[in-house]
């Protein structure tokens, strides 16, 4: 399906969606509250069938007090792509877990929690994946500091 008709189809199913500009693949932006409903449609709709969650990550925007969660979806049936973006509040970063739809999300979300500190509601096993359990802070945040960090040479 070409990107334009793909986006039109997604928008028809969920009229509250906004398109996310400035991406090289078709992308939509969704409120965290609607994330699960939208994702269920994307996976199960016969013309969409996004069955592979390629990757999930978060981008930190401290200036705007938000994390942008990025879900990159691919359909092995139709061969099309979609980026789903969701903004969560940076002071209280809670998003619904999509583990029930794509099992791989369990570990991709653990990585996002470990490095970015995003919390996932209804996650079956939310704990750090790379760092030790008693690590303080979330290293991929822009304001992360620890005593071992070096100054960049000017």
């Amino acid at each position: 399906m070409d990107p334009e008709s793909l986006l039109a189809l997604v928008e028809t199913a969920h009229p509250t969606l906004r398109r996310r500009p400035l991406t090289d693949r078709p992308a939509v932006s969704v409120a965290p509250g609607e994330l699960l409903a939208v994702m269920t449609t994307l996976r199960d709709h016969a013309d969409l069938r996004f069955d592979l969650l390629i990757t999930h990550t978060a981008i930190d925007y401290p200036g705007e007090n938000r994390f942008e969660l990025i879900y990159l979806l691919y359909s092995t049936v139709h061969g099309h792509w979609l980026i789903v973006a969701a903004d969560v509040d940076r002071t209280r970063p809670v998003a619904p877990s999509v583990c029930g739809l794509w099992p791989i999300a369990e570990w991709q979300e653990r990585e996002a929690y470990d490095l970015m500190g995003v919390l996932y509601d209804n996650h079956p096993d939310l704990r750090r994946v790379f760092l030790e359990d008693d690590w303080v802070g979330f290293p991929l945040r822009k304001d992360y500091q620890d005593e071992y960090m070096l100054e960049l040479p000017k």
Partner: protein, 387 residues
Amino acid sequence: MTVHVRTLDELLHAPLEADSELTTQEYLVNMGPQHPIAHGSLRVVVRLDGETVKEVIPVPGYVHRGVEKMCEHLNYRQVIPYTDRLDYLSAIMNNWAVAKTVETAAGIETSDRIEVIRTIMAELQRLQSHALWWGVTGMDLGAYTAFLYGFREREIIGEIFEETIGARLTMNYIQPGGLMYDIKPDFAAKVKKLLPYLQDCVEQYETLLSGNVIFQERLRNVGIVDGARAVALGCTGPVVRASGVPLDLRATEPYGAYGKVQFNVVVGSIGDCWDRYYVRLEEMRESIRIIQQLIDGIPEGPYSTIRYNVELTLPEGIHYGQVETARGAFGVLIASDGKQEIPYRLHFRSPNFNNLWVVTAISPGWRIADFISIQSSLDLVIPDIDR
């Protein structure tokens, strides 16, 4: 609404109970971080009842270097050497993923010559990676001879890389806009001389290992994962193709010179360890075929279309590009603010991180020896999991 965050400690101190009819005791065994099957530093905690695997808890992170954080302070050309250190057996393909993403985002054109050389190098490395994997799998399952044969071919292909690139492991070869060095005048002749030899080697692999009864018994019908489940578990590369899903980025969205060559996407039938083994052997034959079609017609021209000291600034937004490495889809997600020549955020979609977790789904119920086969058949490279 509260979100409960767990710890590994909590998991390891959960009550254990045995449920078989025999009086057995349940216990936890650490396999790794230093274990021959770990192929690096991967710790896997296995909950066993007798010899039966009940639960697998992978604990990665022993090689976590914070590459994504470091990349936020590097310009796009400086990112390339870091990708060598992720999946070190697919270094050239990882370089290519970054170069391809940057080229697409910045609108840099490359030439036919560059794309053909990139494709040949990538396929040589796929051959090298699969040869090593074949040897290591043999070693994991008790056939030490295979290990030495696998390393023999790795060495021979490594010499070709060394002559052109100057490195054997961390290549740093494919750059945005071109290549780091031009190929030597006798490159094509040397590769052409090598191809029949490699063909013979694949046949030799078949006679050495594939026909072995013990080897087959340990792989056939072990660790079966069907196509839909493999896709849901995020698998790519030979792992998902062995389950019968023809997902190969070289064919589904051709890049480089893959659009000009004929090759088959090798798929398995039931997705057991044997399929994962055989898909890779067949892929070696396909890689040889791809190189054969390209090696005679390397176009003339410069090896780079841009000067390497120009400033590369990507337009604002999210850019994603990916290539098919020896282990699956390696993707680079770059969020650029459009002002600086460094990425605002750079995320690597690593095939090994996503392939790893299938062990938690397919291992329970198998014996500990089968678990070795399963983990070996996934062909994990640990630094790529941890990044």
